[in-house]
């Protein structure tokens, strides 16, 4: 008969936590925050097909970091649960808290029961009638649930990112201000020698839950609309002057002011980037 070695429960849990934390820390981060017009999700994500941010229901969004196949499984379960509730009762009866609760129970059960915990951190966000009514829940690999009103930062070095957001976050901010803050916070880590990184539109995945919109409030912001919001206030305009062009036409064009929410254009570009970026 094989000899069974005794391992204390403390040791098992500690090992699992450490394993999950390491996995999560390798990935890039996500910031979710309330602003005047709704709830903003910003993720650093090179893929345009493998989403870290998605729609769950009319006024509920989902963001995650860590292992893609694991949080995708949770997301699909969330969509199924929300749609089942909305179908059995009414669309208004689908709210963020019960969903976050089920995710927490599920993550907790997997953490205790399985050999390998889920290497994920999840944010379930519900947009309310005013920023004070927004619900932001952060769930971790062991099933802990935290109610974090205002903003949530998740992923590797989330504390540093959270500190930047905490310092400048205002719920009265408009979309442009909120997005710039989130991008700055995400760029505050991972630079060479602690330097600030400038993140460009094609490195970001951005979506909002629009507070004033009836029905399904989730909208992705991408393409030209995103570039206009992310670009610095006075962009350097590169002007290529053809040889035969008159000199007078070389004046750079006025930068077009960005109008949030109105000019959300879906520009889906086929991504040639690495499709199997599991820990993105």
């Amino acid at each position: 008969m094989a000899m069974q070695f005794y391992t204390s429960p403390e040791q098992i849990m500690r090992d699992r936590s450490e394993y999950a934390r390491k996995g999560i820390a390798r990935g890039r981060s996500v910031v979710v925050l309330s602003f005047a017009g709704g709830v903003l999700f910003v993720a650093e994500n090179l893929s345009t097909a493998l989403h870290k941010i998605s729609e769950i229901y009319d006024r509920i969004g989902f963001a995650a970091v860590g292992r893609y196949n694991e949080f995708e499984n949770l997301r699909a379960a969330g969509v199924r649960m929300a749609d089942l509730r909305g179908y059995a009762y009414d669309r208004r009866d689908v709210t963020a808290w019960p969903l976050a609760n089920v995710f927490a129970q599920n993550l907790g059960a997997i953490f205790t029961e399985s050999t390998k915990p889920f290497e994920v951190e999840v944010c379930v966000a519900g947009v309310g009638a005013s920023p004070e009514d927004d619900e932001l829940y952060r769930l971790t690999y062991d099933g802990s649930i935290n109610d974090e009103p205002g903003f949530v930062a998740m992923g590797g070095q989330s504390e540093q990112i959270g500190a930047v957001v905490r310092e400048h976050h205002r719920v009265e901010a408009d979309l442009e201000e909120a997005l710039r803050l989130a991008v700055r916070a995400l760029g505050s880590v991972g630079g060479e020698g602690g330097a600030q990184r400038e993140l460009k539109a094609d490195q970001l995945e951005v979506a909002i839950l629009e507070r004033e919109r009836p029905g399904r409030t989730f909208r992705r912001i991408r393409g030209a609309a995103l570039s206009a919001l992310v670009a610095p206030a006075e962009p350097e305009v590169e002007v290529v002057i053809p040889d035969d062009a008159p000199e007078a036409e070389s004046t750079p064009a006025e930068p077009v002011p960005a109008e949030p929410a109105e000019d959300i254009v879906d520009v889906e570009e086929a991504s040639e980037k690495d499709g199997g970026d599991e820990k993105s």
């Binding site: 699909a76 199924r80 089942l84 029961e113 099933g143």
Partner: protein, 279 residues
């Protein structure tokens, strides 16, 4: 071995099953009692048990499709409802209406709406228009045994095909029979007891590529003709201010024509018919 539901806190296995993006398939595993057509029915003809909804018409126009339905539901010789709505947006770019047993039809439409949204959320991209039409056929098929006992509901589906190469011909119409047969229709179609008369009216009026205003007027007029001949189809109700539900689906999405606009068109039709109402 763990199968999912046995440990406290785990969601039932159906919630984390992979490979299906269909809400109806998920319901079958997780909550089959919510699926229409899966209930045990007493034997015999049950057609008297539910109110009957009647005429729906759909036609293409330059930018997409228009669908309109009258507001009447009947039960035997009585009027069960004067203001029932039988035309709905099934998603951003498609419309669905139904005729037949009102209870079954409303459930079918609700399930279809969730089905389309569910697929879009799980897959991250909407179904193609023909994919939507096929899903609806499967749902109609699921109701076959109830339909054979008199609880039949038949949908009419129309939408704007985002994959169409010719923008002027992106409006498409699909009709169904009670056993779930799917037929793509050209130009225009109608379902329900008054559809024979509505289609006859459209046969004379319809021209391809009309603008939205004209197509909406033709739809209102065809329902007027149906109500004129069929007692189960309701005409414009001027005293109560009840008019057909008319919706458009185009590249800009779906929109319901305002009651005020439909009233104006209905009054126009009545005015024109007053010269010689026919006999």
């Amino acid at each position: 071995m763990t199968t999912g539901a046995d440990f406290p806190g785990r969601m039932p296995a159906a919630f984390s099953a992979t490979g299906s993006s269909s809400f109806a398939e998920f319901l079958q595993a997780a909550a089959p009692e919510y699926l229409p057509g899966r209930r045990a029915l007493p034997p015999g003809d049950l057609s008297h048990a539910s109110a009957h909804a009647t005429t729906i018409v759909a036609m293409t126009y330059a930018d997409g499709v228009v669908m309109a339905g009258d507001r009447r539901a009947t039960q035997g010789n009585l009027i069960a409802s004067r203001d029932i709505e039988k035309v709905f947006a099934s998603d951003m770019y498609s419309l669905v209406g139904f005729a037949g047993s009102a209870g079954i039809g409303i459930e079918l439409v609700r399930l279809f709406q969730v089905e389309l949204e569910h697929f879009e959320k799980i897959e991250g991209t909407p179904l193609s228009l023909h994919g939507k039409a096929n899903r609806l056929a499967t749902m109609v098929r699921g109701n076959l045994s109830a339909a054979m006992q008199g609880l039949a509901a038949v949908p009419l589906f129309a939408g704007y095909d985002l994959d169409s190469r010719e923008p002027g011909k992106a409006g498409r119409i699909f009709s169904y029979d009670v056993i779930g047969g799917l037929y793509e229709e050209r130009d225009y179609d109608g379902i329900g007891s008054g559809s024979l008369f509505a289609r006859s009216a459209l046969k004379k009026r319809f021209r391809p590529g009309a603008d939205a205003d004209t197509a909406v007027k033709w739809a209102v007029e065809s329902l007027y003709d149906a109500a004129d001949e069929d007692s189960a189809t309701g005409g414009p109700d001027l005293t109560r201010g009840l008019f057909p539900v008319v919706m458009l689906a185009s590249a800009d999405g779906t929109v319901r024509i305002s009651d005020a606009e439909v009233e104006r068109l209905a009054r126009d039709v009545i005015g024109e018919r007053s010269d010689y109402p026919g006999r």
